[in-house]
């Protein structure tokens, strides 16, 4: 019992550092996915037919291929083929980000489509260009509606990030495995890892919840209204 406690005490800073790596990978991936996702969503709703087709293919591909396959494909294959030698962590961020972008795009698309088309027509009547109207009228509402879906996506990507070690990124899971291999205290160590994931999920969801409250428009909480 005492020995277990000692092992956990020694492992904690090392695993916490791993939690930092995990958090960096997830925040990076979510941000990159956000940029991709928002563009795809707008293109899918408002784009010309060929653009809808192209981004549709993108979403179909990244939702259809397992992340593990994508990680190997990009890290050992495509990134090397085009001659860029990215670090493992950067590759993880890019691949998770591209995948998350595909999923996030559907969150934003759903939110955009829940808004009445009349808003866009009204904006045109006031002389706004479509781009202006999408940026100033549609997206501010759609993004607010997307926060709950986004926080869902956050907790999913967080757990997908455990795959990152196949490229040698020493995040929480890899580090837990290392310490367990040395000490043979598998159960307590994996419990500690679970606790760290739980804390990261809790913190992220909490922050997004706060954001949701912060940007709520008073008297307009049910946006359909």
């Amino acid at each position: 019992m005492l020995e277990t406690f000692e092992v956990l005490k020694d492992a904690f800073p090392y695993l916490l550092e791993g939690a930092g790596v995990t958090a960096l990978a997830v925040v990076g991936a979510m941000a990159f996915g956000f940029v991709i996702g928002i563009h795809i969503a707008v293109f899918q709703v408002y784009g010309p037919w060929w653009l809808r087709r192209v981004v549709g293919l993108y979403v179909w591909f990244f939702r259809g291929v397992p992340i593990l396959v994508l990680l190997f494909l990009f890290y050992f294959g495509l990134f090397s083929l085009i001659g860029i030698n990215l670090s493992a962590l950067t590759s993880v961020i890019l691949v998770l980000g591209m995948t998350s972008g595909a999923y996030q795009s559907q969150i934003y698309r759903g939110a955009i489509q829940s808004l009445s088309y009349g808003q866009l027509k009204a904006a045109r009547a006031l002389g706004m260009s479509d781009t202006r109207a999408i940026l100033s009228i549609i997206l501010p509402q759609a993004l607010r509606l997307s926060i709950p879906g986004f926080s869902n996506e956050y907790s999913i990507i967080l757990k997908d990030s455990a795959l990152a070690f196949v490229l040698g990124t020493t995040e929480i899971m890899a580090r837990t495995h290392f310490v367990a291999s040395r000490t043979y205290q598998h159960l307590p160590l994996y419990l500690l890892a679970a606790l760290l994931y739980f804390m990261l999920t809790w913190m992220g969801v909490k922050v997004l919840r706060k954001l949701e409250e912060k940007v709520r428009i008073p008297g307009y909480s049910h946006l359909q209204g």
């Binding site: 020694d10 979510m30 941000a31 990159f32 050992f76 997206l139 040698g168 495995h177 291999s181 043979y184």
Partner: protein, 252 residues
């Protein structure tokens, strides 16, 4: 409008974070050694999270003698050779057995350690090596190892009855031996001896696989590095420090 700026400002910040691309700076004579950190006593991470073990100490000594910098990077064993050939790491000094399959894709240094493969079973189970080979039972082994390959081909040839179960590391296979999910695990003898000191398991004996030799794996084209490592290994094995290392890591 103010609200808009917040949203797009946020997007901008996120975009910037995702753009920070840390690339390995190519200092002169600085190498990355890929290790399987789930392979005590040859390579593991110590209490403070630093790479440690027989191979790590050996490489540090060689690096100091020959005047190059070295960083030990834990890697997934499954992908360690692809990582080497994709230039993500420069060599692998982590208890890698020299075998013809691997020699097709990488070059090996001179051998530096002889290793036997053993079966490990639960303490007091009364199992013998022959039981494991002939009876219908589950045998665990680490994926991507020479013993995994050998057991698979040999079992077909000899008509052995065990079913192979694959693990990410040998310690995980040991864990399942203790749990009773598999009857025995096949692994190298040094890590098996390490396991015996920490878990209620015992070594059943060797199972007929030919003794293997550990070597350092280097990319085919890196002839200079291979020569340097060979020189370093020769120096190290002639030095009294070699015995110190063996005492420290491999003798119980």
């Amino acid at each position: 409008m103010g609200q808009n700026r917040i949203w797009f400002g946020l997007a901008g910040i996120f975009a910037m974070i995702s753009m920070t691309v840390p690339t390995a700076s190519a200092l002169e004579k600085s190498y990355i050694n890929g290790i399987d950190a789930n392979f005590p006593p040859f390579a593991y991470v110590d209490k403070t999270g630093k790479p440690a073990g027989f191979d790590v100490d050996a490489i540090d000594w060689i690096a100091a003698k020959l005047g190059f910098k070295v960083k030990h990077q834990p890697m997934d064993w499954d992908g360690i050779i692809p990582n080497l050939n994709a230039k993500k790491i420069d060599f692998i000094a982590s208890g890698m057995s020299i075998n013809p399959e691997r020699e097709k894709v990488v070059n090996f240094s001179i051998p530096y350690y002889d290793i036997k493969q053993v079966f490990v079973g639960k303490k007091g189970s009364g199992l013998t090596v022959d039981d494991v080979r002939t009876k219908k039972m589950k045998l665990g082994v680490q994926r991507g190892t020479t013993e995994a390959e050998w057991l698979k081909t040999e079992a077909e040839k000899q008509g052995w009855n065990f079913t192979l179960t694959y693990y990410d590391s040998a310690p995980l296979a040991i864990e399942d031996v203790v749990n009773g999910r598999i009857a025995a695990a096949a692994m190298d003898d040094a890590p098996a001896e390490d396991a015996v000191t920490k878990k209620p398991v015992e070594i059943l004996g060797t199972f007929g696989m030919k003794e293997e030799k550990f070597g350092i794996a280097v990319r085919k084209e890196d002839k200079e590095l291979l020569e340097a490592l060979n020189k370093g290994l020769t120096m190290l094995m002639a030095d009294p420090y070699w015995q110190v290392l063996i005492e420290k890591h491999l003798k119980k």
